[in-house]
């Protein structure tokens, strides 16, 4: 019974992913430091990655080999796409932060207030 509880199952991964996602969401909404906001965004995306890979492994485990083995790898493929795209997004985000830092000498969100919402 104890070993069953300790063996990682699908719910463990889902709980981990949800926790990470919520931490990321809180970080995005409350942080004033732009770099920290970007990091929280990455956290949210990585939570999605964990979800994708965990679901894929649960639904189509890599049991069996040879011609009889069936693989549906779309979740893993999705995770790789998310990694790639989030890297591109982080690159653009950091470039913008550098442009703003040159102007304001700060990365504090509250200081960027030319546009009044």
């Amino acid at each position: 019974m104890m070993t069953d509880f300790l063996t990682p199952q699908l719910p463990h991964f889902l709980i981990l992913a949800t926790t990470l996602f919520v931490i990321g969401l809180v970080g995005v909404t409350t942080s004033r430091n732009v770099i920290r906001v970007l990091m929280s965004l990455e956290l949210m995306l990585n939570a999605v990655n964990i979800n994708m890979v965990a679901f894929n492994n649960y639904l189509s485990p890599a049991y069996g080999s040879g011609s009889g083995a069936q693989f549906f790898m779309s979740g893993q493929a999705f995770a790789i796409f998310i990694l790639t795209v989030s890297a591109a997004e982080a690159a653009v985000g950091l470039a913008i932060v550098i442009a703003l830092y040159r102007k304001y000498k700060t990365v504090d969100m509250e200081q960027f207030s030319v546009l009044k919402g």
Binding site: V34, M44, Y58, V92, L100, K116
Partner: protein
């Protein structure tokens, strides 16, 4: 009249009749043209001489034009009978790239509008952008990239393709809105857009990952819908509702629908004017067409026998759309009343229009989506025309506030007339396309579900409110004394810088009035396109089986 078609067929060495069944990848020829233009363009943009860098603008324009021609050719080849010129009665829905993209009538039509719209943006953006950052030629190329993303969105039939297309459009838009990086407003707008957009994408992705798991490991829209219907686990219903809400929240961000609209006024205000035009038009069309596909195919609200999420979630979906529509209309129109910047005014007007269009999603029926598509196409041209004139005023006076437009009629009578036509169309005054768009939309929604009467009355009240701020701008231009900025304008038209804008405005006036006069045929085409999306969903059973074995 068939010679261009025959010529293209001969060029592709394709026997007549096999085009749409065997040569699947040829449906993406326009996108291939855009990709080639992009590669050549980035090579040119990094070239050493000024002249080569300037040629990027011309290259991008002709690249888009060529893609538009290819897309039009593909439409005639795939969807019309070559003998009679009429649309094929049966649905043509070709799976391209392992069914990641569905090349159907909706895809064909919306990409023609998207390429046309982007072409107009590149045309009128040139002198505005070159005035502010003369030596950079990348601007039109990023527009091309963003257009590619929007086009792929309109055809997406797979969660992965949907995500990649959304991000292609998204990341390009972040770069575009921060293009004048030495301008504090532009850089700040870009940062805000990136942070809000990134969070929206992450939220939407989390919803997608839940749908992926619940469907049993599928990513293609119809297969996900069938997977959800097959499980029939009532204990998973809350998770399904959460996944749906997360995806819709992401969409609301992308569409700038209230209550997730806060980024839009700031980003629209801070971005360069042509970028504001692009964001309010091209990305809205792409996102709405994708939303139609997601709601019908992925969430399976459509075909009998495959009600994916069951009756409970259908009503949840409908309720969420109603809330989004009401808040967008009210917030957009009320906030637009007290704006002094034209760009912010147009931003709130966009939010209001998104609210009207979302009414079509409340009833969840194909006929209503068809009127939404009509509304979007009309909106693309009237808004682009208005923004072309805003760009012209901005590049000649250097101002974006409403008072800069006072007495414009004394210096630019024809431009004032054109802007008045676009504003009246946005307000929904008869004989313009905007009136018929609203009329068809409200009428169809009411017919589909008479219980929406309250919503429609609210929408009509909102249209009346919107009339105030549109007419106010016209009143300023026509009646008020010329402002200092307008008085300083030269009387003579500078054709070198104003010529492209005049061309764009002429095209947009023509389409805005033409779509008013020939409203029925255009709406008919939209109806057929949306009806065919439905049949494609029903015929996906065969693909479902072939995916399993």
């Amino acid at each position: 009249m068939n010679w261009p078609v025959n010529w293209i067929l001969a060029f592709l060495n394709t026997p007549a009749g096999t085009y749409c069944t065997e040569q699947h990848l040829f449906h993406l020829l326009p996108e291939l043209a855009i990709l080639i233009t992009l590669s050549v363009g980035f090579w040119l943009a990094s070239a050493s001489t000024e002249m080569e860098r300037q040629s990027v603008w011309r290259l991008s324009f002709w690249g888009l034009f060529f893609a538009l021609m290819l897309a039009t050719g593909d439409f005639f080849l795939t969807h019309t009978d070559r003998a009679t010129g009429a649309l094929y009665p049966q649905a043509v829905s070709v799976p391209v790239l392992f069914d990641m993209i569905r090349a159907d009538l909706l895809f064909s039509l919306s990409r023609i509008v998207l390429y046309f719209g982007s072409m107009l943006v590149v045309l009128f953006a040139r002198y505005f952008v070159q005035q502010s950052s003369p030596s950079h030629g990348e601007f039109p190329l990023i527009i091309l990239g963003a257009t590619l993303g929007a086009v792929l969105m309109t055809g997406a039939n797979d969660l992965i393709m949907m995500f990649v297309a959304l991000e292609t459009l998204g990341i390009s838009s972040f770069i575009l809105s921060g293009y004048f990086r030495n301008d504090a407003k532009s850089a700040e707008a870009s940062l805000k857009y990136l942070l809000y957009g990134g969070a929206a994408t992450a939220v939407m992705l989390f919803g997608m990952s839940l749908l992926y798991g619940l469907s049993g490991g599928f990513t293609q829209f119809p297969l996900v819908a069938q997977g959800l219907a097959q499980w029939n686990h009532t204990q998973f219903l809350p998770v399904m509702v959460i996944a749906t809400v997360l995806m819709l929240a992401g969409f609301a961000f992308k569409l700038s629908a209230a209550p997730f609209h806060q980024w839009a006024p700031d980003v629209y205000d801070g971005s360069p004017v042509p970028v504001t035009a692009f964001l309010s038009v091209i990305s809205k069309l792409g996102a709405f067409v994708l939303l139609i596909r997601v709601v019908t195919l992925l969430l399976g609200t459509l075909a009998p026998g495959m009600v994916g999420l069951g009756g409970v979630t259908t009503s949840v979906l409908s309720g969420l759309f109603a809330v989004m529509a009401i808040t967008s209309m009210v917030v957009g129109n009320l906030a637009a009343l007290r704006q002094s910047s034209v760009k912010r005014l147009m931003a709130y007007s966009t939010i209001a229009h998104v609210g009207y269009i979302l009414l079509a999603f409340v009833v969840l029926q194909q006929a209503a989506y068809a009127t939404a598509l009509f509304y979007l196409v009309a909106y693309v041209f009237m808004n682009l025309g208005a923004f072309a004139i805003i760009t012209l005023v901005s590049q000649e006076t250097g101002r974006d506030d409403i008072n800069a437009y006072a007495g414009l009629i004394h210096k630019k009578p024809l431009m004032t007339l054109a802007l008045s036509i676009f504003l009246l169309s946005l307000a929904g005054i008869p004989i313009t396309s905007g009136f018929f768009a609203k009329f068809f939309l409200f009428q169809t929604v009411f017919k589909a579900n008479p219980a929406t009467l309250g919503l429609i009355v609210l929408a009509l009240l909102n249209s009346t409110v919107s009339l105030y701020y549109y007419i106010n701008l016209i009143r300023l231009m026509v009646i008020a004394e010329p402002s200092a900025a307008v008085a300083a304008l030269p009387r003579k038209v500078q054709w070198l810088t104003a010529g492209p804008v005049v061309a764009v405005v002429m095209v947009c006036v023509w389409v805005t009035l033409g779509m008013g006069i020939y409203a029925e045929p255009v709406l008919g085409l939209a109806r057929v396109a949306l009806a065919q999306v439905g049949t494609a969903a029903a015929s996906s059973n065969i693909l479902f089986l072939s995916a399993l074995h």
